[in-house]
């Protein structure tokens, strides 16, 4: 019985490993066939529907990196006010806090949440204790648009 349990667990482990490998391969292939659109943050936010799902490249100063795991950062536009949320994807595990105050070029997919997802996103944001005070990046944090970054490069440090 004990042997059987161990072998079943081992088989499940191998199965899950091979499945995740296939998913990663598909993502890479998909991103290679897309064309990257260079845009400013203001251009993206002026016509978000036009850019939804497209590969984009933006750059700007990183104003804030989430201290709890680096799972998002915020980039300010040239106007010094408009900000956009960037989340890590692909091979990027997290954004390091050192990025704060650096000008960074990001490449990734611009995404707009549908109304249901957007409502859930805001509810999730508001439910977190550390979000009780309003910050300069709060609007971008709650926004229904964001970039899933697959690559980035620090232009200034």
């Amino acid at each position: 019985m004990q042997r059987l349990i161990v072998w079943v667990l081992f088989a499940m482990l191998i199965g899950s490993c091979s499945q995740s490998g296939k998913k990663e391969g598909t993502t890479t292939e998909a991103s290679q066939t897309e064309q990257v659109v260079k845009a400013t943050i203001q251009e993206l936010l002026a016509q978000p529907a036009d850019y939804n799902g497209k590969e984009v490249a933006v750059s700007g100063m990183v104003t804030h990196v989430c201290k709890h795991g680096g799972q998002k950062c915020f980039v300010v536009a040239d106007d010094g006010e408009t900000q956009i949320r960037i989340v890590p994807a692909g091979d990027i595990d997290e954004f390091k806090i050192d990025l704060e105050g650096s000008t960074v070029a990001f490449k990734g997919t611009f995404k707009v949440l549908n109304p249901v997802e957007a409502e859930e996103h805001v509810a999730d944001h508001d439910s977190k204790e550390h979000h009780d005070s309003e910050m300069a990046h709060t609007e971008a944090e709650k926004a229904d648009y964001f970039i899933e970054a697959v690559d980035f490069k620090e232009l200034t440090q």
Partner: protein, 188 residues
């Protein structure tokens, strides 16, 4: 019986082999638990110091010279990166390893320095499987080893204190407790 001898051997050898891994995952497990609950940040240490500019400022009169004066007051001349205004009354100066907040109307300066938390930064790096590649396989081996340790541990002791006696009740308790939490927080 011979299988009991093998059982003890597996339990003992896996226990020695995975002692270090158990400590790493145990420490980082506590850290991540409280990190997720936002009780504290296991990855970084930050500390703040206060200064004063002694003059009231406005966004329009913040120049490179003012920035340099603030950097001089705080002793951060060599760490400057960039600055911006998160709000009309607030100036944020980014530093290598932190930032300076200046409330312009009062001239109050707050310097926040941030650095990686030693030990926790390293153990969390491993727990989150950041190295990937070979570490994935070794940590999988550890996870499998934990399963074997748990199963072999059930059959170490015979008699009243073993799995057929008090040990069985304790084992059941350890299974029921997470099920109760799932029932309360997830299922119903």
């Amino acid at each position: 019986m011979k299988w009991r001898k093998w059982n003890r051997w597996i339990h003992r050898e896996l226990g020695y082999l995975f002692f270090g891994m158990s400590i790493i995952y145990g420490i980082s497990g506590i850290a991540l638990n409280h990190g997720v609950a936002r009780h504290w940040n296991p990855g970084i240490i930050s500390h703040s110091e206060s200064y004063n500019y002694n003059h009231s400022l406005t966004k329009d009169n913040v120049s490179r010279q003012v920035i340099e004066e603030i950097l001089q007051i705080t002793g951060e001349e060599k760490s400057f990166k960039q600055y911006y205004f998160p709000y009309p009354d607030d100036l944020m100066i980014y530093l290598k390893g932190g930032h300076i907040n200046v409330h312009l109307p009062t001239g109050e300066i707050s310097v926040t320095k941030v650095r990686n938390r030693p030990v926790f930064n390293e153990v969390n790096y491993l727990h989150y499987n950041k190295p990937k590649q070979l570490w994935t396989w070794f940590s999988d081996l550890f996870a499998l080893g934990l399963v074997l340790l748990a199963i072999s541990g059930l059959f170490l002791v015979r008699g009243k204190k073993g799995i057929t006696g008090r040990g069985g009740i304790t084992t059941l308790l350890g299974i029921i407790i997470p099920l109760i939490f799932l029932a309360i927080y997830l299922w119903f």
